[in-house]
């Protein structure tokens, strides 16, 4: 969250009024980028291109309040800052190609935009299961329209839902479905425990128990081999041969970066777009990346470039990348202006009546998990260690547990960087 704001914009000259910055991507990252370009002193034009028809909105409620029918769009939409009121929004349009050498991007409506600076903020799309069977009745939850479509299918009587993937989104959807009164909710995952990758076994076991006590069933340690049904899904065939009857399926099996439009520019697009430690792309001063599409090294940890799909990342990266881009376009010293990016990652997940709150990178320390406060049966705070060093803290329980975890945040911020 913080740790990203040490370098103020001193040394950044005011941008020229004649240039244009194009922001490719109209979600939270695109909005924050536009706002932060103004905050960094850019007075030229800013055009945001977004493929969804909606203005940027908050995604966490999609798997919770939107699915439960409790959140109208007005309650999800971000309110853009006044300084960004003159930003041009081109919605319902996407960027399909880029020529970084010529500083142009092509849109799917056939038009080409020239730019002086480019922000890559195209985000992710859900990965889909590639196995045999019908498509109808199978859903993902990434956009507002996805969540509404899923809700419409969950509200009938006697619905049997199978969620594929016991990660955060899958478990949130399962919890919401139980709350909605969905008759049968089963979560499938090849791993032996829910959320075990990022959180480890201790919390994985605690979470399995809590979900089961609240009515979620699990089929763990087995994958999906295919889907039954003629035209519409009626069952999920597991790799171990079992068949789970299903009226509705949610696929929550990770995501894929929207980077194909950057092909042909010699960039590293292996998993998102690789950036340097100022979030600049391809060593260029005129292109930066923000949000979960950016694969950046975090100077706080081992310096290995990673994408981070946390809610806080669009805001954190936008603040940093905007300074680097404006410095790059105005000839200011971009290395001096923003400094290396070193955020302290944080995420939360609301499921049933409990919350997970995380600081740092617990996934780096799942082999050495220690209870710091409380008890896994009740409210608990766990610490994740690498080489004896605390690298992540996770609270499970009510608000008091999250507050207890936050006390370790200062310790995480003070820790020296991990050696690569």
């Amino acid at each position: 969250m913080t740790g990203t704001t040490t370098g103020k914009t001193a040394g950044t000259k005011t941008g020229t009024a004649t240039g244009t910055i194009v922001v490719a991507g109209g979600s939270m990252g695109g909005l924050r980028a536009a706002e932060q370009l103004r905050a960094a002193g850019w007075t030229g034009a800013v055009t945001v291109v977004g493929d969804e028809p909606h203005m940027p909105y908050n995604r966490p409620p999609l798997s919770k309040d939107v699915l439960a029918g409790k959140a109208p769009f007005a309650s999800l939409a971000f309110t853009p800052k006044a300084a960004a009121a003159d930003v041009e929004w081109r919605l319902g349009t996407k960027v399909v190609a880029a020529r970084l050498g010529e500083r142009t991007v092509a849109l799917d409506d056939g038009r080409t935009l020239s730019y002086d600076g480019l922000v890559v903020a195209t985000g992710m799309r859900p990965r889909r299961l590639r196995c045999p069977g019908p498509l109808a009745g199978r859903h993902t939850v990434r956009t507002l329209d996805d969540a509404k479509g899923l809700r419409d299918e969950l509200t009938g009587p006697g619905v049997r839902l199978v969620v594929v993937g016991a990660g955060f989104i899958g478990c949130e959807v399962a919890a919401t479905a139980v709350r909605l009164g969905v008759a049968e909710v089963t979560v499938v995952d090849p791993l032996p425990l829910p959320m075990v990758g990022p959180l480890g076994e201790l919390l994985g076991r605690a979470l399995l128990k809590r979900h089961e006590e609240r009515g979620v069933r699990f089929a763990l340690g087995t994958g999906v081999a295919g889907f039954r049904g003629d035209g519409r899904v009626t069952g999920v065939v597991l790799a171990d041969g079992r068949v789970l009857p299903a009226d509705v399926v949610v696929e929550s099996v990770g995501s894929v970066a929207n980077v194909e439009w950057l092909d042909g520019n010699g960039l590293d697009l292996v998993d998102g777009v690789l950036t340097d430690d100022r979030l600049r792309v391809g060593g260029r001063p005129d292109v930066v990346a923000v949000g979960d599409v950016a694969r950046f090294p975090n100077a706080r940890y081992d310096g290995v470039p990673r994408r981070v799909e946390h809610w806080s990342i669009p805001t954190d990266t936008a603040r940093h990348a905007a300074k680097a881009l404006v410095a790059g376009l105005t000839g200011a010293d971009a290395d001096a202006a923003p400094g290396p990016f070193a955020p302290l990652p944080t995420f939360w997940s609301d499921q049933h009546d409990f919350r997970l709150q995380s600081f740092g990178v617990p996934g780096l320390g799942t082999d050495d998990v220690r209870v710091l406060d409380g008890d896994p049966e009740g409210d608990v705070v766990t610490g994740y260690h690498t080489g004896g060093r605390l690298v992540g803290v996770v609270a499970l329980g009510g608000p008091a547990a999250a507050t207890a975890a936050a006390r370790y945040r200062a310790q995480l911020l003070k820790s020296p960087a991990l050696t690569p």
Binding site: M1, T2, T5, R32, N58, P60, F78, T79, K81, W311, S312, T315, T346, W348, D350, Q357, G398, P399, A400, A401, A402, T403, A406, R409
Partner: protein
């Protein structure tokens, strides 16, 4: 600068406390408390707090 938090939206995530500790705090039960009449010098911090609120419950007036 007047700070307004929609307490119907607030779910006590506490991210605002890290961004602007002079304006926002959590009590021992983890519930949010805040200064509604904040010093103008804290504007940057409060703007950051508004940005990082997962519920977008913080508004700055004036």
């Amino acid at each position: 600068m007047k700070v307004v938090v929609d307490m119907n939206k607030c779910q006590d995530h506490g991210q605002c406390v890290f961004a602007a500790p002079d304006v926002f705090s959590l009590d021992d039960d983890g519930r949010l408390a805040y200064v509604s009449d904040a010093d103008e010098a804290l504007r940057d911090e409060v703007e950051e707090a508004a940005d990082v609120c997962p519920l977008q419950a913080i508004r700055i007036e004036g």
